[in-house]
Amino acid sequence: MAESLSARNIVKHYGGVVALSDGNLDVHAHEVVALVGANGSGKSTMSKVINGVVVLDQGQLLLDGNPIQFASPQAAKNVGISTVFQELSVVPQMTVAENIWLTREPLNQFGMVDRKAVNARTEELLALFEGTFKTDLNPDSSVTSLPPDEKQIIEILKAISFDPWLIILDEATASLDSRQVQRLFELVTKWKENGKAIVFVSHRMEEIFRIADKFSVLRNGRTVGAGNIKDINEKQLIKLMIEKESVLGFLRGEAKSDAKVEKEVSLQAENLTTESLRGVSFKIHKGELVGIGGLRGQGQRHLLHSLFGDVPFSGTVKLFNKEIHFKHPREAMKNGFALVPGDRAKEGLLYIRSILDNLLLPSWRRYGLPLNVNNAKKDATQTGSTLNLKMAGLEEPVSSLSGGNAQKVVIGKWLMRDPQVLLLDDPTKGVDVGTKAEFYALLNRLSDEGKTILFYSSDDEELVGLCDRVFVVYDGMIRTELAGETLTKENLIAASLGVAQHERATP
């Protein structure tokens, strides 16, 4: 069994995006290292480098001090490195036992899978979490039928089934309940005593301080701090995660928030509930730019999609004091709503169709029957120039555009309808800095024109710099609302992590 693994000066690019620019990590047997950082700081990439899922561009991995390279997940497995993947690696159609033992099935002398042995060993593993299952979980249960927490436990059991010495837990506790987390931590403590090493990737401060011995902080792809957990407190740790100076030079419109006070309420929700939202209430004013923050997957997307009539919900939503309850995006569009979805390739654009087709997709009806293509083209050209869309021509396919310009087409197709309420789901994801700045200017302008904008972003800095107010969503609820002086990055991150709100940030 190995004693230590070190990652030194790791660099990893995905296309033009730098995921890691200087990643470092040291893990030793008998210890739990918490790998922390804000959204997009490179935590997941770091764990994927260590487990061989991605190949690093530069830098070095050292196993017990000796350089080592992993060409595939199998290579990392061979030296005893195992991962609990955030996006589970289980095959839903297969049973619990089949999943746990996939590629390592015990065989009998005829080369057949020894079902008895498989089931017996699976029972042993399941016993580790005995008493925390809601369903009658057994080795033959099909994974599809399990609730998310039990799927997560199967993923954990799968990772430990070959007795690795290093276990990477990537957000493994996110879908577990407190009893299951407790059990997992008892196991982690035991593994530690037995000489295993654990990398604990998590957003939850409370858990980090409960289980970790050491910490390592990533910020924008660089390791900016590491040490013993007992030498640091929550506040200091959060501070490390935050960028010191702002890279982006945008700012809120001068004195904008003052003018907001007397404006009328445009969009109002009471007790909005869906599968992943647990009673969300808010009021937004006309011309207000409101951000939605928080960790990924806390229900932000559901909030936007339910307002757009895309996801069924219960509760009351009012637009200018008139109750609305859209059952289909068509109704939302008629009432002046627009949604810029999070996955532009999948939901936002017809990738192989022309820019013209994409821009006009929601508005063709306006151009009569037969279509007045000339008028349509004129309008599209105008929208294109308003957005400063860089393209070879309207007939070119959207797939020929860069990420930022493609996103402009998504926004443009809604702008052509002159929406009153604009819902945006992380619109600057994978967009270059220049285009980002243009977006910010555009959003500012739209809100000045009196549009209501609700804007989810995984980029905390952007929320702080751009929005009038920010709703921090945690576990399906608006946990905290930040505005004015309380709207600082520090408070935003603290609230995202579910930490009780700190008193005002020290300057």
């Binding site: 899922v53 997940p73 159609q93 099935e105």
Partner: protein, 322 residues
Amino acid sequence: MKRSRWDALTARQPALFALILLVLSAVINFIVQPNMFARETLNSNMRVFLPIILMAIGQAIVILGGGIDISVGGIVSIVNTVLATRVGLEGSPDEMWKYIFVSLLIGLLAGAINGFFIAYLRLQPIITTYATSFLYAGLALFILPNPGGGIPASIAALYRDSTPLNLPLAFYVIAVFLLIWLYTSSMRYGRFLFAVGGKAEAAYETAVPVTMVQFSTYVISGLMAAFSGIAITMLSGSGNGEIGGPMTLNSITAVVIGGNAMSGGVGGVAGPVMGAITLGIIQNIISFANIDTWWETLVKATIIVVALAAPGIISIFRRRRS
């Protein structure tokens, strides 16, 4: 609670629907053709069904692995024309055995070509095998432009009239292939096949050799198509460059009726075998009941639609209830 038990049952026994259909169609067939279980009748039916059954076994493997093979009909045609032109009506049994061996190699090679494009070059299965289906069908017509040729009558008779222990030869052939499937599916390969068809990325992250497994399914399918071609040549005794074409869709239908998910990862081989037999029986019923043949298409199509739509319809009802 009852519902979940039913779910568990259908999840574990995806072939249940196929079994019910098989029994149902057999009962109807028995009514219109009371001597259907007599040795002669049973044998003459089964020897007609066997080529599709063999093809459906190969198709089932490909579909389990998350792909589809539309070129199997073309492979059957090649094998048929090769046997009919190389062996000939006056050929010796030795020649026949030799070319049966050659046929199997042709099947393996054709399957390997499909597998190479799909698994290694990552082309879409449906497009790739659609393209190669023309390649293979064209090759068959090149070998034998007009129907003709044949194989020795003695060999054909061996296939047509053998009934060891008073059971049709086809039963033994099916039994052999089912046993092979039972064995391989309980080996590690079986798990890999289901994992790749179920969720290829998860399989990759778990270090399953995804590409190899995908490749192998097309090779197996090509081999089974070759067996199917040999069987249909022995059945007809003659050559026809277009003989395999119409069989492709039937093999896919058999797999669907057999309870395998078109998306892969769910099902087996016994279901598709029953599905293929059911298809044959339906054809039988229609020809015996003296109904117009368009009924056959209608009935088949209805069964496919029901089989495909069943899961969706069930989930709609469930949503209503909750």
